[in-house]
């Protein structure tokens, strides 16, 4: 039993690490910090797996742990982050090659919890209900955090893109010129 569990855990660590790393990178904006976050998450998953009889959905548990670990760490460091109350008046236009950089920078302007919500909703394709369950908040909170996060993201991107489309609502919210 223990051997098969260990094998399952090893396979999980090996196969899911990169997927978690992508989400972590979007949230942290830095590859080394993202690697640290994923490593801490995986250690917690192993500890939980070995400390409990069973975890029904290892992947969901890992995702929840990743987000909680990220938010906790950011919260403790909130006073080391620059406030995003004042954004540049006229963001510079960027070429497609620089777009990735611009999006990463724009994501960092979004408050950590809102950033986590955006990553869960739009990158991991989690529903509002699933995101609410993962974060332990109401669906209304997820919706409001999504709206606020998208607003900051759009403002931070400015002229870098034509429009940011919220696919979930299948309509263009705003075109920034």
């Amino acid at each position: 039993m223990r051997e098969s569990e260990d094998q399952e855990l090893r396979e999980f660590l090996s196969h899911r690490r990169n997927a978690l790393l992508r989400s972590a990178y979007l949230m942290c904006g830095d590859a080394h910090t993202a690697e640290d976050l994923v490593q801490s998450t995986l250690i917690k998953v192993v500890l939980a797996r070995r400390g409990r009889r069973s975890i029904d959905h290892l992947d969901a548990y890992a995702r929840r742990t990743l987000v909680h670990t990220f938010i906790s760490a950011r919260k403790r460091l909130w006073h080391r982050e620059s406030p995003h109350g004042e954004l540049p008046d006229s963001p510079e236009r960027v070429g497609d090659a620089d777009l990735g950089l611009a999006v990463r920078a724009a994501l960092q302007q979004v408050a950590p919890r809102q950033r986590a919500v955006l990553v869960l909703r739009f990158f991991e394709d989690q529903s509002v209900q699933a995101t609410a369950e993962l974060l332990g908040v109401s669906e209304g909170t997820v919706k409001s955090q999504t709206a606020r996060g998208l607003a900051v993201l759009r403002e931070a991107l400015g002229d870098a893109v034509g429009a940011v489309v919220d696919e979930d609502l299948t309509k263009v919210h705003e075109v920034i010129r």
Partner: protein, 265 residues
């Protein structure tokens, strides 16, 4: 100009991310095993501190009872006389755990300061992690009572400190708008330009298995900042023993604790 979905933007943000090729499975399993042993060690340490307190009380009790008997004709000796016993050992005032213990409400339990562990080794080629000097009070304190453990965490910054400490800046007074409303965040301007930010995080927000957390952050006009977090403890793999039902300090007590001038003396 191209329009993008949020998903497409996020895919763009991942452009250039080099996914590591080395397998860290064994490393993760080894670190998990180490951490488990360390947690067990911490629990043993906390238990040992509790046993030591009981043993100390047993030794002191007869003295206290005798003293009370001498003064009061043998009547009325009770627990209240225990704290006044002259035989009680005096702890060094400079010991951070003793200072913290002295500022907690009476009967809070034993206080043990956790040892700092060195940072996780970085991968080859990655920049080294700088370990900043910090106040001797900074760190995590385990508070054990009746076999249950709560955590008290202190983090501070003093711009006058030499060597220089890691910078903590005064948060914007709009900070409460950036964190969940369920945390009941409140910013208060105190006399002399001092700012107090208080929050209460519901169980499960600080960590996946954490209890309720009260936090107070005090920022002074001269740049000093102190953050105090009173956590009811955590269960499961994050925990250091059975957690308390409530944080070791109420919200108001956490505020008063953080505002105490002793942290910068």
């Amino acid at each position: 100009m191209t329009d993008y979905t949020v998903r497409e933007l996020m895919d763009k943000a991942l452009d250039g991310l080099l996914l590591p090729t080395e397998d860290i499975t064994d490393s993760v399993l080894t670190q998990a095993a180490h951490r488990r042993r360390r947690h067990r060690g911490g629990a043993v340490l906390a238990s040992a501190a509790g046993v030591a307190l009981v043993a100390g009380a047993v030794l002191v009790l007869p003295h206290a009872a005798n003293g009370a008997a001498g003064q009061g004709g043998g009547h009325g000796a009770g627990p209240g006389t225990l704290t006044a016993a002259p035989a009680a050992p005096q702890r060094e005032p400079a010991d951070p755990a003793a200072v913290v213990s002295g500022l907690l409400p009476a009967g809070s339990g034993t206080v043990v300061k956790m040892k700092d562990v060195p940072p996780t080794p970085r991968p080859k080629g990655a920049p080294k992690v700088r370990v900043w000097p910090k106040s001797r009070f900074d760190g995590t304190y385990l508070i054990t009572k009746d076999g249950r453990t709560a955590d008290l965490m202190i983090q501070s910054y003093d711009p006058r400190a030499r060597p220089a400490q890691a910078l903590l800046t005064r948060p914007a007074d709009t900070i409460c708008g950036e964190i969940p409303s369920s945390w009941k965040c409140k910013v208060t301007a105190l006399a002399g330009g001092v700012q107090l930010i208080e929050t209460t995080e519901p169980a499960g927000d600080y960590g996946a298995h954490s209890g309720v957390l009260n936090e107070a952050e005090v920022s002074y006009p001269d740049g000093r900042v102190i953050v105090v977090q009173a956590l009811a403890g955590s269960s499961g793999p994050d925990g250091k023993g059975t957690p308390w039902a409530n944080p070791p300090l109420t919200r108001a007590q956490t505020d008063a604790f953080a505002e105490n001038p002793v942290w910068f003396k």
